[in-house]
């Protein structure tokens, strides 16, 4: 797992630098601006920890979750439903949470 994330980030770093240094365009010729993340601390740390708890318990994050549907284990659908529910509840509570 560390190998996958680590090598993805290393290669990703190189590719993002390539886009910036060579001023690469999109395939249809438009210039590329990669939006910086908004400033913040609490939301990133607390949100990240909550995510991490679920990540480890489920053994899946929001990308692979959909790939696992293909395995035929219908339990994955409960996991995805839970993720939708969590997203929905965040939307309800957003204004009350520290960001």
């Amino acid at each position: 797992m560390y190998g996958i994330i680590g090598s993805a980030v290393l290669v990703g770093l190189g590719l993002v630098q390539l886009v910036k240094r060579k001023d690469l365009k999109t395939f249809d010729g438009q210039s590329i601006t990669i939006k910086p993340k908004e400033k913040g601390f609490i939301n990133y740390l607390i949100g990240g920890i909550i995510f991490g708890l679920g990540w480890a318990l489920a053994g899946a994050c929001p990308g692979p979750m959909y790939a696992l549907v293909g395995s035929g284990f219908i339990s994955i659908l409960v996991l995805i439903f839970g993720a939708l529910l969590g997203t929905f509840v965040y939307g309800l509570l957003k204004s009350k949470l520290p960001h």
Partner: protein, 182 residues
């Protein structure tokens, strides 16, 4: 056809290539945003401002999602990918916790089989873990793809904070909470 899982040094860079292609399509790599889009399509905009945005601009993300589903079907049903072999020490720890399906199934069948789905504990674990993933990724503004891969590749400090959070949460779950749950 039965194949082994791709080694990490192929799988990881491939993920980065997907990010690169999405950037060059004028998009960004982030999977958890699709959960918000799906909430909006289901009418969540009636309950919160957060879901009031033009979801039609995010359809491309759902197309990626559909591609991931098809990729999963292809890997599991056509290529019949073998279960990954887990570090021997981790495997024996998992067996002590009662996970006997280690190295035999892609997931622990103790959690993901249909029979455990109908047990309260199994169902609760799936629902709660999904909830934490959905809630946490939106609170943090991204998940492993949006922060760990895209954000870190672009040297974003917020993403580093989020990723540190991911691992704090993951380590707490595995080392402190697993013994209580299993």
């Amino acid at each position: 056809m039965i194949v082994s899982p791709l080694p990490w040094f192929i799988a990881g860079p491939l993920i980065a290539v997907i990010m690169f292609v999405l950037i060059r399509l004028g998009k960004q790599f982030g999977m958890s945003s699709n959960l918000r889009t799906l909430c909006t399509i289901s009418g969540a905009g009636n309950y919160s401002e957060f879901f009031r945005f033009n979801w039609k601009d995010s359809i491309w993300g759902l197309v990626v999602l559909l591609g991931v589903v098809f990729g999963g079907v292809f890997a599991f049903q056509v290529l019949k990918v073998e279960p990954p072999i887990i570090n021997t020490e981790t495997a024996s720890q998992l067996k002590e916790m009662g996970f006997n399906s280690v190295n035999q199934s892609y997931f622990p069948t103790e959690l993901f089989s249909t029979s455990s789905l109908f047990a309260i504990k199994g169902f609760a674990i799936l629902l709660i873990s999904g909830f934490l993933v959905g809630f946490g990724s939106r609170y943090a503004g991204g998940c492993t793809s949006g922060h760990a891969i895209s954000g870190l590749s672009n040297l974003q400090r917020p993403s580093l904070i989020a990723v540190i959070g991911f691992f704090i949460g993951g380590l707490i779950m595995v080392h402190l909470l697993f013994p209580l749950i299993f």
